[in-house]
């Protein structure tokens, strides 16, 4: 096994997941190659260093904060969803108002004409 091949298998070698034959070849290589032996030591040390990370405690009121957050998000999403309905309704409403005004105009004009005709005939 050469250095390139060993470094490709380094993780499996350290984790002990290599098969027996490869494990022996890798061990022989580490025994004979100072550079790879140093690499393995540094590799193991860097993995061990991760154990230095401490566990952080989340804020004690995180559940309460989450409930507020979820309510606010739901409100926002509901408003967004109803926005379309409202816009549609607003459009329809204005159209209906326009229709009523036009209808009243026409009706008033017709009534005025009828009244004028009646007055003239009288």
């Amino acid at each position: 096994m050469d250095c390139t091949e060993f470094r490709r298998l380094q993780t499996e070698y350290v984790e002990g997941t290599l098969n027996e034959a490869s494990k022996k070849e890798a061990a022989d290589h580490v025994g004979a190659c100072e550079a790879c032996a140093q690499e393995v030591k540094a590799y193991v040390a860097s993995v061990k260093a991760m154990a230095a990370l401490s566990v952080r405690e989340p804020p004690p009121d995180l559940w309460e904060r989450f409930q507020e957050y979820a309510s606010a998000r739901e409100r926002t999403e509901r408003v967004r969803a109803w926005g379309w309905v409202r816009a549609l309704f607003r459009w329809r409403f204005s159209e209906v108002c326009k229709g009523i005004i036009i209808f009243m105009n026409v009706t008033c004009e017709t009534a005025t004409r009828k009244l004028q005709k009646y007055v003239v005939e009288a």
């Binding site: 490709r8 380094q10 993780t11 499996e12 140093q38 030591k41 540094a42 590799y43 193991v44 040390a45 860097s46 993995v47 061990k48 260093a49 991760m50 154990a51 230095a52 990370l53 401490s54 566990v55 952080r56 405690e57 989340p58 804020p59 995180l62 559940w63 904060r65 989450f66 957050y69 979820a70 998000r73």
Partner: protein, 211 residues
């Protein structure tokens, strides 16, 4: 240092048992079923069970300041998507996958992540990185050095290292979070550890871990 290790080993035990204890799968399935049928207390139990691992994951992936926001966002997304959760899958890995996506969203939004350009930027910023490591060393805090070195590697490498070496996920669990094959997970662990090793190697002796 002794205290650090003791604190950590306690912490690790908490994280590991909370995330993937032997009964976790069955318990989670029951809680999810209860929540699906409208029992909000079941979701509260889920939240309280997983808030610490998710918070710790987010604190290292993004930042301690944003960890609470990411945790809330991840749980909200999980709550909304609970109907799509496949019971055959581990709940913990499903939740971590959501948290991972939320972290990536934040990193992208803040321009701190560009998967293609990260290596170039990282190399370019090597000088600044070293000075940050020096600052951490000045505090002689091993944990700070590790965290600083973690922040210097690409987020996708950081993710792999955190899942494997901090949260102690198995290859199978990682393959579920990363949506990748076991072989791909193994090679990603290898690459990520090699990159992390390169960052921390110059400081190992000085921070008391002898290679």
């Amino acid at each position: 240092m002794g205290d650090e290790k003791e604190m950590n080993s306690n912490g690790e035990a908490v994280l590991k048992s909370e995330v993937s204890g032997p009964l976790a799968g069955t318990e989670d399935a029951g809680l999810v079923e209860r929540f699906r049928s409208g029992d909000m207390t079941a979701f509260e139990e889920i939240f309280k069970k997983y808030q610490k691992p998710i918070y710790n994951f987010a604190a290292r992936m993004v930042s301690a300041q944003e960890a609470a926001d990411v945790t809330q966002d991840a749980f909200y997304s999980a709550m909304k998507a609970i109907e799509t959760y496949d019971k055959e899958r581990r709940f913990s890995t499903w939740l971590f996958a959501i948290a991972k996506n939320r972290c990536y969203d934040i990193l992208r939004r803040k321009g701190r992540i560009s998967f293609q350009q990260y290596d170039d930027r990282s190399r370019h910023a090597a000088g600044t990185g070293s000075s940050r490591v020096e600052d951490a060393l000045a505090k002689t805090e091993l944990a700070d050095v590790v965290e600083t070195c973690l922040l210097q590697i690409a987020p996708q490498d950081r993710l792999v290292i955190l899942l494997r070496d901090f949260h102690q996920f198995s290859h199978e669990e990682m393959s579920e979070v990363l949506q990748a094959s076991i072989a791909s997970v193994k090679s990603r662990i290898h690459r990520a550890r090699m990159r992390f090793k390169e960052k921390i190697k110059p400081h190992l002796d000085r921070i008391g871990i002898r290679p």
